[in-house]
Amino acid sequence: MLQRCEACGAFAYPAREACPACLSAGLAFVDAPRRGALLAETTARVPSDVYFRERAPWRIGLVKMDCGPTMVAHLHADCVEGAPVLMSFQLDKSGQAVAFARPEGETPNMADDRQWREMTADPKFRRVLVTNGRSVIGQEAVAALKAAGAKTVFVGVAEPWRPFGGEQLLRGQQGIEVVTLDASDEKSATDLAADIGGKVDILVNTTEYVRPGGLLDRRGTSTARDEIDQAYLGFINLAQAFGPAMRMRGADGTNSSAAWVNILSVYALANWPAFGAYSASQAACLSLSHCLRAELRPGGVKVMNLFTGPVDTEWFQTVPPPKVAPRAVAQAIVSGLRGGLEEMYVGDVAEEIRQRLAANPKALERELDK
């Protein structure tokens, strides 16, 4: 995304309030062509800032974009002066969007670049906790993270002596450890954190508790309490148990903590009355995730929210398609971590809600009431 003048079409960077070609004030951010050429590079060996001082030497360069502007950028190690590069904005450890230049073509082990990994939360080589191994999404997430090169995947299972479907996918597998965790139980979360809290680089919160119904078709608050206990208070238990150590370990060498992932219903953004109370519990979790993001940011740990429409699981049986396959959610977790993203929308329903919310929020509210 770069600014482009609506009057004369010139691209501008750094961000500004008037077009340097024609002085127009109409500078909208648009998807810009990503190609450029590396004009010159340098390696900062004695940065003045403590963050970069610890990570020096740090390589940067000046890129002339094919679409016009020149951009100071972080450089992938395989970038060569004079050669084409592809630019993207990445979120750095402080949460700021920064320009990153990669070689135009693929190079061997491209994603393992030291400076690139500083901008992302790639699960490769990292240790991950998936909080609920009883769910299909949890099991798919474990498989996808393992396939992406995670060193160890801890899988939380409540009352692990009780058998469950898919158990054989988790037990006795190289690099997968089943651990006891009931997120809705404060003591359970604290006990597990005491055991493995210092080894969790990425936490994937797959807690799900889906029940249909809104307000008037339910009697009393017992189901709502369960929704809050499992989703909202469960989130708090996990955050309080694992968050402090993750925040402290954000710069803990190559095995640093990197990200916290939430899987949220897209109806956290706009209430779906058919699952109205559930939507509200998800909205509470979304709000809490912004709080967690702010509190983890000083440690350089990202919070990524995945928004999904109804997933193809038993609690959404009555909902017509399109539904999101649990495997698609799992793959989105991996690709979001690899890109260092803060938000992802998985599936057609989630994407549609995102667009309709941006276009006309009142219309969306009315139309969801069907």
């Binding site: 961000a15 003045s48 360069g61 020149t70 402080s94």
Partner: protein
Amino acid sequence: MRNSLRTPYDGIVMAAPVTIPYARYSIESAQWWIGRALSALVARAGIKASDIDGLCVSSFTMGTDSGIGLTQHLGLCVRWLDTIPLGGASAIAALRKAARAVQAHDADIVACVAGDTNHVDSFRLTLENFSRFNQDAVYPYGAGGANASFALIARNYMRTYGVTREDVGRIAVTQRANALRNPHALMKTPLTIEQYLAARPISDPIHLFDCVMPCAGAEAFLVMRDDTAASLGLPAARLLSTIERHNAFADDPMQLRGGWAMDVGELYAMAGVKPDDLDTVQTYDDYPVITMMQFEDLGFCNKGEGAAFVRQHDLTIDGDFPHNTSGGQLSVGQAGAAGAYLGLVEGLRQVLGEAGPTQVKGAKLGLASGFGMINYDRGLASGAVIFAGPGR
């Protein structure tokens, strides 16, 4: 012969060049340093503070103060006031404005002063808050500061024209030789080309002796008409010509030339002199490669011949091209905005015959240049001035 359409600086002079000796770190404020400079100006010129009716100030570390706050702080009552935030181009911009003010009788005696303090953390804070573009689009990229930004420019320049570190190093080494004769220079030990080449890398190809040392200090001079100077009995240097340019050559993908290249013909035409006529040259040496660029852009050689020029000339005080005779910022230190004044103030001392241990014998005609404000990817501001001592 008139070669310029601009109004000549008839009878405009500069007097009383003063330098408050620099300190690596200072617990005093910028206002303290500026106060010392004004006090020295008054003493040097034999005037009262109340005789100063114009003031022009530059500083990075005055906090929320500008020139207006200083009038009350220092007890000055002026009828002409300016604050110039142009970094390394501040001295020349200040001089240009002050000259026209006294020429038009808007003021009679203008004090041009720059001063900065350097607390233990001042430099990092200045880097972090330098400009909006810098905050958004430079500082988050490794926080290498000006060193990293100029490293990119230097690397591109050196590659384009086949310049070696040894070529660039000659500038730093000869300036150190000059500085050893200046008792106020912060650098007091000799520097050999071997030491220069062996220095530790800071941001390739910038190494330690390509960098200036941030410090505290102040510089100042007075601008007035020649009749005022005569009535005060003050030796003064005549202002012959100036140029100033901002955001030149914006279409160059990277900086290979500064704004001087756009106006250099005007500079010499207005002064009525040629580059060969100059007795001393004081360039803005935040990095020696920028000095090499100025040798080209100020007409001492063609573009791309800066390295050959440096190889063919002796840049020391007693050499055939006396350059940055005080040692320049590279060896004296960079006292913030006072760095913009260092060359001009030394140049004035040279043509007035007041330079003492660094005096170039018989220097009458001087040039000083300025360069500043690496707002994003290049230095935006440039300027130059030619001036003559008494008897020329």
